[in-house]
Symmetry: C2
Subunit: 246 residues, 2 copies
């Protein structure tokens, strides 16, 4: 890890420090679970004050790149960056992006339709028994009519994530996590209505069957059916919302 301050930069010191540390993590000088020097030590090496170092560390913490603990064996450590660790990071990004730019649902759902179809095709080919079990488990959760709408939603998210994972393409899974989250507000809405819950779980049941039998065409058709159905519900909800306002 090279800790010399580079050429003169107009940006703030804390940003410069953060960028250098991030660089060190990115190029592998700092590996997962490595412990950074203490804040005092960093302050000495970078020739800046501790508050400045702390601001830099908080920037990295916001990106989930590091974690800190107090105490003698504590300190600041480099995080593992798995799909799940990235998901809250991505969730805020995608949710924010979708909400702040008022991206229309068709834009989201059409993209998701294409991507999830791709997932299903790959899943049909590559799904393992473990994948099927995971999907079965989440489906079981959804079938339980006693669970709360929140839990239903969470199980729904996990079911779709399981499909993504079953593709055994980690890049595709990574992207799908973003899309699943972005469509979640609509799914949340649905979870409060029991009739719709039955329809969704019915689709999931058939989808699981199709993937088990490795029937790509059928699986894609069911995905299309579900997303079209969600679009439709969203449209209805918006209409009734507009009626309320008039």
């Amino acid at each position: 890890m090279s800790l010399a301050l580079g050429p003169v930069n107009k940006s703030s010191l804390s940003k410069q420090v953060a960028d250098q540390l991030q660089e060190a993590i990115l190029d592998g000088s700092l590996k997962a679970d490595d412990r950074l020097p203490t804040e005092d030590e960093l302050a000495k090496r970078f020739q800046v004050s501790r508050p400045t170092i702390r601001e830099a560390l908080k920037r990295l913490a916001a990106k989930n790149l590091i974690r800190s603990r107090r105490g003698p064996t504590g300190g600041t450590f480099v995080n593992h960056l798995g799909t799940s660790e990235l998901s809250d990071h991505l969730t805020t990004a995608s949710t924010l992006y979708v909400s702040m730019n008022q991206i229309s649902l068709p834009e989201v759902s059409s993209t998701r339709l294409e991507m999830e179809s791709l997932c299903c095709q790959l899943a049909c080919t590559h799904r393992t028994d473990a994948d099927l079990e995971k999907m079965e488990f989440e489906l079981g959760q959804q079938l339980d009519s006693r669970i709360s709408p929140e839990d239903f939603c969470a199980a729904d998210v996990r079911f779709h994530r399981a499909i993504a994972e079953a593709s055994h393409n980690r890049m595709l899974s990574f992207v799908m996590y973003t899309l699943i989250e972005a469509l979640q507000p609509v799914a949340n809405m649905i979870a409060y209505r029991f009739r719709e819950r039955e329809i969704i779980t019915g689709q999931h049941k058939r989808l699981l069957g199709a993937i088990r039998e490795q029937n790509k065409t059928l699986a894609c058709a069911i995905i299309a059916e579900q997303i079209t159905y969600l679009d439709q519900l969203h449209e209805e909800a918006q209409e009734s919302h507009q009626q309320k306002q008039t």
Copy 2:
């Protein structure tokens, strides 16, 4: 904007403050270009010290949610969150994810192939004159053999981004930004060899033509050709790398 500290939370104060401010941005209490209170004012309202407030602000700055300027008319402002503003954020996430999880290039490139084909199809339908101009401009940059490898890469990224934008589906563009970045290391490698540069720009020229003429089939074929070509180069590079080691 509600500035009361919520229920007791074990997480650090700076994180709590950051979360509340982010919430305010997310739910629209703080809109783009709104100015936050001064740091002293925030410190008073949240009943914490200024360094703590600053740590919180740096967390949000790391996510590109805010920007700050000094001076009487300065202060901290809420950012617009466009695709490009998010790209920093996403770039580190995707690059890190790919490198830390040792995701194989086929996983990335196969995903990108599917997604970019989709982009091309939509771009053929929806491309405007402005889209075509943008692509032409970036292609022009690439044709100039005097530019540095770094500039060539940057122009390449912008060219592919322009294709994504031409789809006029913001969600798809958003996702594509991630994938383009993730494949960049390979593209970087190529930029240092002039022969390959010519081949790539040739493909781009034909691709632009296909999109102009709205020939979906041709456009997709060229994308497939390019990505296959990149995979091949990567494979060769790895082989020669292994030879060196033996």
